[in-house]
Symmetry: C2
Subunit: 349 residues, 2 copies
């Protein structure tokens, strides 16, 4: 964002702002019949199922503008919604963006948020087809609805896991949470001494996990290529523990999760050590990793066993056995559902 030119929203007017934010939109998907500019967008999904998901991010709860760049915020707000669409084994096609903002934000600030939104649209091949830009008395709220498509037979729900299915996860876990802890620490230092430069060297990976996460559309593409149909799937927004319990509850199964199998990056563990946090807590309860957690029939084991994108972290069991963490010492500890706290700031219906 160019710091020199700051235009008050009142200078360009409401329609001027909309024009500035939407003038560069180019429709990418055949299913987008009519995008921005009418009472509603019009979509054509004649042969497919339509998949819809929506999230709301509020300032001070989901993001802190002290250290989250506006462009990253826009990008992430899109990505977290696309992640939900991918978690259905579906392909996102459109988003609708609602933003409420107080008058402390300039036109350039809103454009900066939108530049991140458009960057995500570009990267994931998604069309922005509508939304609402409005005032707020206090801070910034972004609510995004993502719409996608899938063949009916490819849809994967939370409810299809069977006992003995393999429990798998993409990528690694806990990084976004440890990135957040690092940003919070440096922010506290900065608040005390404005001349302090943040100490972020060597932690680029976990910072990116927090500030600019990606949704795992590549995994959905890999499933298709490899002929894999997960039996159940969910994205990891709240933390591994909470998501496993969702799969168990919806599928009416139990689960054994093995502590030593949980994939974590070197930086995640190093930061955890530096901050005296158990890295397992970051993986189980940290959230915001936006990896895919899914179950597979054991018949698919050969297809994924050597794929570095996936880690088998456990297996499903009968419902009566409960959802357990099997520790390195071999004891079984029941997984805990998350409360409504800092590390778990939203809950999806």
């Amino acid at each position: 964002m160019n710091k020199e030119k700051q235009t008050r929203i009142s200078e360009v007017g409401e329609f001027g702002l909309i024009d500035r934010l939407t003038e560069k939109i180019q429709i990418k998907n055949e299913s987008t019949v009519k995008g921005v500019g009418d009472d509603a967008a019009v979509l054509n999904y004649s042969q497919k199922r339509v998949v819809v998901s929506s999230d709301l991010l509020t300032e001070g709860i989901h993001f802190n503008l002290m250290y989250v760049p506006l462009k990253h915020l826009g990008y992430k707000a899109v990505v977290v919604n696309l992640s939900d669409i991918f978690a259905m084994n579906a392909i996102p096609r459109q988003i609708v963006v609602n933003i409420a903002l107080s008058n402390k934000f300039s036109v350039e600030a809103v454009e900066e948020i939108y530049s991140g939104i458009y960057l995500a649209c570009e990267k994931y091949g998604v069309d922005l087809v509508g939304g609402d830009t409005t005032s707020s008395l206090t801070g910034l709220t972004i609510s995004i609805t993502a719409i996608g498509e899938a063949e009916e037979e490819n849809l994967v729900y939370r409810s299809g896991a069977k006992p003995s299915d393999l429990l798998c996860v993409s990528g690694d876990l806990g990084g976004a949470y440890m990135g957040l802890q690092l940003l919070e620490r440096e922010n506290e230092v900065f608040k005390v001494n404005k001349n302090m430069q943040p100490q972020l060297q060597g932690y680029d990976y976990i910072l990116e996990r927090q500030l600019k996460p990606e949704a795992r559309g590549d995994i959905i593409a890999a499933f298709k290529k490899m002929g894999i149909q997960p039996t159940s799937m969910i994205d990891i927004s709240d933390g591994l523990s909470s998501e496993i319990m969702h799969l168990c509850k919806n599928s009416n199964t139990g689960c054994n999760l093995y502590e030593d199998k949980i994939p974590m990056d070197y930086q995640t563990k190093k930061m955890a050590e530096e901050l005296s946090i158990n890295p397992l807590v970051a993986a189980l309860n940290g959230g915001e990793d936006y990896e895919l957690l899914f179950t597979l029939s054991v018949l698919d084991y050969e297809k994924i066993k050597n794929d570095p994108d996936f880690t088998i972290i456990g297996h499903m069991t009968e419902a009566g056995e409960g959802a357990n963490l099997i520790t390195n010492a071999g004891s079984a500890i029941p997984l805990q559902a998350q409360g409504w706290d800092h590390s778990n700031r939203e809950n999806k219906q």
Copy 2:
């Protein structure tokens, strides 16, 4: 809402709250394949076009909880979105509801909002299929996305008006704005003297227009029955003046609007007189009436001329003639686009 029992959200937990809010959902539409309870809702619109619209309402900007009952708020939040779907000549089928709320709200308060949401779902035959309930540091934000369907040939955009088309509106205008002025006045009185009872007698109609508006699905049904296909349409959320300018801009036409034709209720005019407000301002710039503004070929004149649901308020002209109000005195005054002020608190992309 039962004032005696107030449960903190932390007592029931996040998943407990979701369960309480969604346990009574019964799916009403065939197009709803999977509602709440997964990463995304799944919809089936195989033979139809999908129509999507979204709005965001923030406390202190769009509503004042000093005088807006929570149930009414939930109801209205749904209705304003359905109104956008009807404005495409489409039928709403699903909604997705995102709510952010601070810890000043109890579980019962959230349930009260949802009771209004469900009442609207019931009345309009719409399924609630998902959403997000999350925390806010400051007040209440509701963001709703509505999804509907239409045959492609029935869709009505803002862009289809032709010069000489009739400009028509359903219902009457300015009532919601005058209802708001009345509520604001009584709220000011109450703030000064807590023992004062509000003076609302005789104004039930304009209060209902503000607090519990309806979306004009009956008009869409009437169009179908009467064999009417509007050439362009928009719902009146910002005010007649602003909406006419949208139709003119999108259709590349001008317009003559006749002051003496604008339909207003007796209570609207009476309240305007009491508060020394020009009732024309309420109709032109007040907004929130959620009536439908549409254009018709003159060939359809016979079909609607005696229908009390509709009023012909003007006609479209060539673009070069501009959008004008023809006053009772016969002079033409250019219509003004709305700024971002109290009477016009949101703007749709």
